[in-house]
Amino acid sequence: MSGIFELAIHNLVSPIILSFALGLAAALARSDLNFPDAAAKAISLYLLFAIGFKGGVGVASHGIDTTLALTMLSGAALSALLPFLAFALLRYLTNLDTLNAAAVAGHYGSISIVTFVAATSVLESQGLSSEGYMVAVAAIMEAPAILSALWLLSRSDSGATTMDKDLWREILLNGSIVLLVGAFLIGWITGEDGLAEISSFIVSPFKGVLCLFLLDMGIVAGRGIRNSRGSLNGGLFAFGFLMPVISAFIALPVAGLIGLSMGGAVLFMVLAASASYIAVPAAMRVAVPEADPGIYLTLSLGVTFPFNLTIGIPLYVAMAGLYFG
C-alpha cells in the first residue's frame, strides 16, 4: 500500500501538477494571471495533435492486436452506460433536479483528454507501456455519453430538446475529435519515419507544454470554483470524488477481461474516471440551456479533474498493480 502514497507524492511534486496548483492558487487569490484564449486553444491543438500522432505511431509499430475492437466496443459501452449510473448516484446523493442531474451524468460518461495525457506522462515515468490505440478509444468514448444524457432528458417532462442534425454534426465532428483521430491516422500511416521527422516538436517539448496548459487549466478551474461558490454542496462534492473511483473500479476488470496490458488498463480506467469539460458542456448548452453550467462545469473541471490529476491517477495505477500483479 505504501507504493500508492509514494507514487501519489511523487506525482504531486511533478512540474505538471505543481503548475496546475499554481494556476489554481493564482485564480483563487484573484491574481490577474491568465492565458489569452487563443494561446490556450493553440496549446490544446498541439496536445491533441501530439497525443494522436504518437498513438498512431504506436499502432504502426506494434500492430493492431486482437483486443483493439473489443476495447473500442467496451469503451463505447462504458461511455453510454456510466451516465445511467451517474444519474442514479446523483439522485441518491444530491437534490439535483432531473435536468441538471442528466446534464451532469453526461459529463461523467464522456472523457477528459488532458487527464488522459497526464496519465500517459505518469505511466511513462513509471516505465509502463500501453497500447497506442488507447487514443482512438478516447476519441470513441467522447460522444456516446451525450446520447445517454439526451435520452435521460427526453424522459423527463421538462420538454428537453430532441437532437437536431446540427447537434449531431457538432458532437461527432467537433474539432477535438477530428484532430485527435486525424493525427492518429497520420501517425499510423507515417509510422516511426514520420515520428522521426517531427519528434523534436511533438515529443521533446511535450511535457513542458503540458505544464503551461495545466497552469491555464488551474486558472480556469480556480475561477470556476470562485464563481460558483454556493452552487456546489456536500452531496455534489461527494459525487465528484466518488463517481470517478467507481467508474475506474468498473473499468478495471473490463480491461482485464479484454486483455489490455497494465498500462492500457490504467488508461482505460482513467478514461472511464475522467469527466468531459469540452465536448459535453457545449452539447448541453445547446440541448438543455436550462441546466446550470455552474454545476456541471465546476463539478467536472473544478472537482473531478483535480481529483484525478492528483489522487486518482496514482490510485488507478495502484489498483491496476494489485489486479495485474
Binding site: A27, D166, V220, N227, Y277, P281, A282, M284
Partner: protein, 105 residues
C-alpha cells in the same frame, strides 16, 4: 450636397457562442442575409459573470450579431431570432438608425 440617408433598424443580439450558427441559419432561412458578428470579451447577467479568458470550453462565451435591416422586416427578424434565443441567456436590443446605400438592406 449631403448623402441620402434612410431610416432603418439596428438589431443587436448577444447570444451564446454555441448558438450562433443556429441563429444565423435561422436568419438566413428568414431571408435575412446581412449581419456582422462581434466578439464578446465577457459579461454579467442573471446567470452570473464570465470572461473569455478562463474559458476552457466552447460551451461558454458569447458573440454579438448585429443586423441592420429595413423597418418593415424587423418583426420577421425578431420572430426568427426569438425562436432560437428563447430558452437561452442573452439579450436582444433594437435601435433606430439611418443607413447610406439603402438599396442594400
Amino acid at each position: 450636397m449631403s448623402l441620402q440617408r434612410t431610416a432603418a433598424k439596428r438589431v443587436e443580439i448577444t447570444i451564446e457562442a454555441p448558438m450562433q450558427k443556429r441563429l444565423t441559419n435561422a436568419l438566413n432561412e428568414a431571408g435575412i442575409t446581412g449581419y456582422t458578428l462581434l466578439p464578446v470579451l465577457g459579461g454579467n447577467g442573471r446567470s452570473g459573470d464570465w470572461s473569455r479568458e478562463g474559458q476552457i470550453s466552447r460551451a461558454s462565451g458569447m458573440v454579438q450579431v448585429i443586423c441592420i435591416i429595413r423597418e418593415e422586416r424587423v418583426d420577421e427578424l425578431l420572430d426568427a431570432a426569438y425562436a432560437i434565443v428563447e430558452r437561452h441567456i442573452g439579450v436582444i436590443c433594437v435601435t433606430d438608425c439611418e443607413v447610406l446605400r439603402a438599396e442594400r438592406f
